[in-house]
């Protein structure tokens, strides 16, 4: 079936204003009659909940943390892009739009991306007014930097804590509405199902994590802003609680899941030090400006002290393979090259999963002082985690899962194919195509929450007067009972293996077969193994404790159960997409230089999958990507 | 606490300077004492004001301690606090100092402990404060009580004075070092100045 993105007609630059102009408005007196559920209070969710409440809607917001301020948006370091052109360096809405489309390897929907670039400027205004302490020049104006290889300086930042500060801005706006009584906040509440009535999303079922109470909540519309699914790979830069459960259960209730195979891998993370590892920590990519990446030429040197390995015995593989870009080769290319070196048995550090990032040449050239000035805080983080002094011995780095571009399918208004279900931020698939540019995740989350959803949800609500079911209606009660049964089922197994054990096994399988580079054979292997693992999980998992209390093992079990299903869809999507693009690299589809080879004639579409039952083949729906403004081109980094 | 603390510190400074006049001889100290008592209305007004300030300081301390103990109902098994010992024991040093002040008032002001002080008169037939001090500090137990009381007072001040600036919003990173050092110095000066009198009398440096 062909999907329609419901993009407004007319020239790209006018579409958003045309859309707003033709929107149905909800009378201020009627707004308070509508209830909206917002799930997740990261950048997208908190900004949406606050803004919708400001407009006069009754909002109920849910998060599984103890406070809305803890969502993993908080961990974003680098910055947020906006086409302000404050630096007078030739930036514009069009340029930001084009860079984002190109960065996404021409697999994003043009109209959405253009709108994102347009509202980016409003985001900065809004955040500055909220008191986000952006970096400033001495004259009091905002400072910018160039980020992620962009040719213009359009990134706004607040030290290395931009995500934290933007989240606090949204959290404060949300808190203000909670204080005013316009938002009812449910902390420590995890969404475990979507309530669908007559085909429309009309509520959710939650479990109160503090006491285990399972309850149905109904509303006129449901907004999901529940983040990405990177923890499907177990080890990632995500928070340990980040999960796909809300999105996945919506998928199982009929929402389409788009492009699940588009996953971003970040090349400069601190490698794992053992099987106990719980998460990977990102180190700024800027390190590659002065550090040189290498591994020993001979396998038998891998155990040696790196300082004892002679220059001639080192393989500076990025400089060798990509002479013009060298150590600055793009994220995906340098990630794959690191994996190849380690697969070749030449990896260093525990488990042979790491490569050196060496600053000795930079220290000689610039002096230790200069290196310290540029990267001192990163060297400190490295030392804190590894106990090693990177001024003395080379750093060890390795790629890690960092962001998922795929997510629930939404149209231009951010509504999924299930009417009344809106999806924002990383949870949707919409704006980054096959790869996300640095400093664009924060921009998208806030764009969706502050500026898009308040102008699109009205079109749906205007048709929904008095259609909200009661919390004790049949559909709501049935959904809550289903969730109760699911929890009981998990607790009843009392098998022999822990939840973490299954998660680790799934993660390893996904990392090996559906990580940086994928091929048919590996994906088919994974597709045979995942159902077996899932089956073993439901037979042999050991979830301790009871359902009617705070039970972290139970929380995790539900999430891993969903990852065990989602992983299969990711592999299916990766297998079906017989091309390489952005974060999806199929070894069979590469140029002679090892570059991603797209097949625009066959795959210039969004792959949106429809659930047909666990273990049953999902249906594929395609939304063709019609590029009216830009011409499809090939990236080159030679 | 901060505002009453400022007033008490001011009083304490003047009190110490007054005491030290004993080293200028009997005449100097007695005429200072007589000067303070020129007007009974002023004297009692001042005494009541000081008692009021002390009462405010003590009542605030009691209220604060009760509230603060209630705010941490369960203690850690073995707490390792970075806070200074003086700062954590203000209520203890405060109680001891309060008891000492009570004794001090009964001793030298009301003469309850030593009614014979009423009989000491100088050549102008006015109360002989100098003689009273000499007589008062001839007893080693009294001297010991005074030294301990003054020591605890200084201990209390070593945190209290700097804390006062913080509570009034007048301390920051830049001035912290200066304020804290000045506060310590002040505590030491108060101890030296206050302890000098009983010590000097006891060791017969003045008589």
């Amino acid at each position: 079936m062909t999907l329609n993105g419901n993009v407004p007609s007319g020239p790209l630059a006018n579409q958003w204003s045309e859309y707003i102009r033709h929107s149905k408005l909800v009378n201020p007196a009627n707004k308070r009659k509508f209830e909206i559920i917002v799930v997740g209070t990261g950048l997208a969710g908190a900004s949406a909940a606050a803004t919708l409440a400001e407009l006069g809607y009754k909002v109920k917001a849910y998060c599984y943390h103890d406070s809305p301020r803890r969502a993993h948006s908080v961990a974003a370091q680098g910055g947020i892009n906006a086409a302000k052109n404050y630096q007078n360096d030739g930036d514009s809405v069009y340029r930001l739009f084009y860079d984002t489309i190109k960065g996404g390897d021409f697999r994003a929907r043009e109209s959405n991306v253009h709108r994102l670039a347009e509202v980016s400027v409003n985001i900065i205004d809004q955040c500055a007014a909220q008191g986000v302490p952006f970096a400033r020049e001495y004259g009091g104006t905002l400072a910018n930097r160039s980020f992620g290889g962009a040719q213009v300086s359009r990134t706004f930042y607040a030290r290395g804590q931009t995500g934290q500060q933007l989240l606090l801005g949204a959290y404060q706006a949300l808190s203000r509405q909670i204080g005013l009584g316009a938002v009812q906040m449910f902390t420590r509440h995890e969404m475990l199902d979507l309530i669908v009535v007559n085909g429309h999303a009309k509520g959710i079922v939650t479990r109160n994590l503090a006491d285990g109470e399972i309850k149905a909540h109904t509303a006129d519309a449901v907004v999901l802003a529940t983040g990405g699914y990177g923890n499907c790979w177990n080890l990632s830069t995500y928070g340990r609680q980040s999960n796909a459960t809300a999105a996945w259960r919506a998928y199982k209730k009929g929402a389409f899941f788009a492009n699940p195979c588009y996953v971003q891998i970040h090349p400069t993370c601190i490698p794992r030090s053992g099987d106990y590892q719980s998460k990977l920590t990102l180190m700024s990519e800027s390190l590659r400006n002065d550090g040189r990446v290498w591994v020993p030429k001979r396998k038998e040197d891998c155990g040696k002290n790196p300082n004892d390995i002679a220059e001639a015995d080192r393989d500076y593989y990025l400089e060798r393979k990509y002479p013009s870009f060298g150590n600055l080769a793009p994220r995906d290319i340098s990630s794959r090259a690191a994996k190849e070196a380690c697969d070749d048995g030449r990896g260093v550090g525990p488990g042979g999963r790491g490569v050196y990032l060496d600053f000795s040449e930079a220290i000689q050239r610039l002096g230790k002082h200069k290196v310290e000035e540029r990267y001192g805080n990163l060297f400190d983080i490295y030392k804190e985690i590894t106990g090693e002094d990177a001024y003395q011995v080379p750093m060890r780095i390795y790629p890690a899962i960092h962001y998922t571009m795929g997510g629930l399918w939404v149209d231009y208004s951010l509504m999924s194919n299930v009417p009344g279900l809106f999806v924002l931020g990383e949870a949707n698939f919409s704006d980054h195509g096959a790869n996300r540019l640095g400093a664009s995740a924060l921009m998208q989350g806030l764009s969706d929450g502050y500026f898009v959803i308040p102008n699109t949800i009205n079109n749906y609500l205007a048709t929904q007067k008095e259609k909200r079911p009661a919390a004790d209606s049949d559909a709501a009660v049935r959904a809550a009972n289903e969730v109760r049964d699911g929890v009981k089922k998990l607790l009843a197994i009392k098998g022999k293996r822990t939840v973490s054990d299954f998660h680790r096994e799934l993660g390893n399988l996904m990392w090996e077969k559906c990580g940086m580079a994928r091929d048919k054979e590996g994906l088919e292997y994974a597709l045979r193994e995942i159902p077996k693992l899932r089956e073993a999980f439901w037979r042999d998992v050991n979830v301790t404790g009871e359902g009617e209390e705070l039970n972290q093992a139970l929380e995790k079990a539900g999430r891993v159960a969903d990852f065990l299903e989602l992983a299969e869809l990711v592999c299916k999507d990766a297998l079906h997409r017989e091309e390489s693009c952005g974060g999806h690299f199929r070894s069979e589809h590469q140029t002679d230089d090892g570059e991603a080879l797209r097949h625009d004639d066959k795959f210039a579409y969004v792959a949106a999958w429809e659930f047909k039952g666990v273990g049953t083949e999902p249906d594929l729906h395609q939304e063709p990507l019609n590029y009216e403004e830009v011409k499809l081109a090939t990236r080159s980094y030679k | 606490m901060g505002v009453s603390g400022v007033l008490l510190v001011a009083f304490l400074t003047v009190h110490m300077l007054g005491n030290l006049q004993i080293f200028l001889g009997a005449h100097a100290l007695n005429s200072y004492a007589h000067f303070l008592k020129i007007s009974p209305e002023l004297l009692w007004g001042f005494r009541l004001a000081m008692l009021g300030i002390v009462a405010v300081h003590i009542l605030a301390a009691i209220a604060l301690t009760l509230e603060n103990n209630g705010a941490r109902p369960v203690d850690y098994l073995r707490e390792k606090s970075a806070a200074s010992y003086a700062s954590r024991t203000m209520i203890v040093s405060g109680i001891i100092v309060a008891l000492f002040i009570a004794y001090h008032l009964l001793h030298f002001t009301a003469h309850v402990t030593n009614p014979e002080f009423d009989l000491l008169l100088d050549e102008q037939a006015k109360p002989d404060v100098y003689g009273m001090v000499i007589a008062g500090f001839s007893n080693p137990l009294t001297v010991a009580i005074y030294l301990i009381g003054v020591l605890l007072l200084s201990w209390h001040l070593s945190h209290g004075v700097s804390s006062m600036f913080q509570s009034l919003g007048l301390r920051n990173r830049r001035s912290a070092c200066l304020i804290d050092s000045a506060a310590y110095l002040y505590a030491v000066v108060i101890f030296a100045g206050m302890a000098a009198v009983p010590a000097a009398v006891y060791f017969k440096l003045i008589s």
Binding site: R136, G140, A158, E384, A553 | L64, N68, M90
Partner: protein
């Protein structure tokens, strides 16, 4: 390395007690929370309930983790959260005590996990700038002196973990409240509401059952983000001026 843990265990409605566990074969490069993960795996495998503790980002920014390790909030290392404490900070054979943050305003929900909702309610009372989406002027139309922006950022670095409250013998929340108030009060954008904000936040802080500050500065030493007590002095000042203006003079900083 092997260590012995004395861990606080407490279920809803229970009084709570310490339990001893052995953590065997710890790698010095393990984080403290990873060590607890492993202990929990062992407990689960032996049919016991794992230890409940709050955690998420594990890189010291979300503010979830909240352990008192050997009597110190966030453990022995300077300026790090519990999740950034590594086993190399301990010795083989150590007995390590692990307790929840202790304060009346942070009741224990289970084991080492406490309810810090009081912090949210303080922010809801006034820890914001009242600017609805869409009403903001161009970001460069209000210049912010770099010094103010930097100082504001120092305060805004607070992760809301509550270690300041846990470290304070008075269970006072002054470091948190002062940092949150200073973050906004230092910016021109936050000036209009300054007096209202300070009075509302302090009022809510008192109502939530936090103790009063007695300037011991234990909070500063425990703060994983290095928030300084300068902000407490500033809050005291701002509060005094706001009280005089609002309660005595019937005016406001903005009037």
């Amino acid at each position: 390395m092997n260590v012995t843990l004395k861990v606080w265990r407490q279920s809803a409605g229970e009084k709570g007690r310490f339990e001893r566990y052995e953590a065997r074969n710890c790698n010095p490069n393990m984080s403290f929370l990873e060590m607890l993960d492993e202990v929990n795996e062992d407990l689960t495998n032996s049919g016991k309930e794992p230890i409940v503790f709050e955690h998420d980002c594990r890189e010291g920014i979300c503010g979830c983790c909240s352990l008192v390790i050997n009597g110190e909030p966030h453990g022995p290392e300077y300026r790090v959260a519990s999740c950034q404490t590594y086993m190399r900070s301990f010795k083989d054979g150590d007995v390590i005590t692990i307790e929840p943050f202790r304060s009346k305003a942070f009741p224990v929900i289970k084991d080492l996990l406490v309810n810090r909702g009081a912090f949210d309610r303080i922010i809801q009372a006034g820890g914001f700038i009242s600017v609805s989406t869409g009403s903001a002027p161009d970001a460069n139309s209000i210049p912010v002196p770099k010094v103010s922006a930097d100082l504001s950022m120092d305060a805004a670095a607070c992760i809301g973990c509550g270690a300041c409250v846990a470290a304070c013998k008075n269970g006072a929340a002054m470091l948190f409240v002062s940092a949150k108030a200073a973050h906004l009060n230092l910016l021109p954008q936050g000036l209009a509401e300054k007096d209202r904000r300070v009075l509302a936040m302090v009022g809510t802080m008192d109502a939530e059952g936090f103790g009063s500050c007695s300037n011991t500065y234990a909070c500063e030493a425990a703060c994983p983000k290095g928030i300084t007590v300068d902000f407490i002095a500033k809050l005291n000042r701002d509060y005094a001026l706001a009280s005089v203006r609002t309660k005595l003079l019937g005016t406001d900083v903005a009037a």
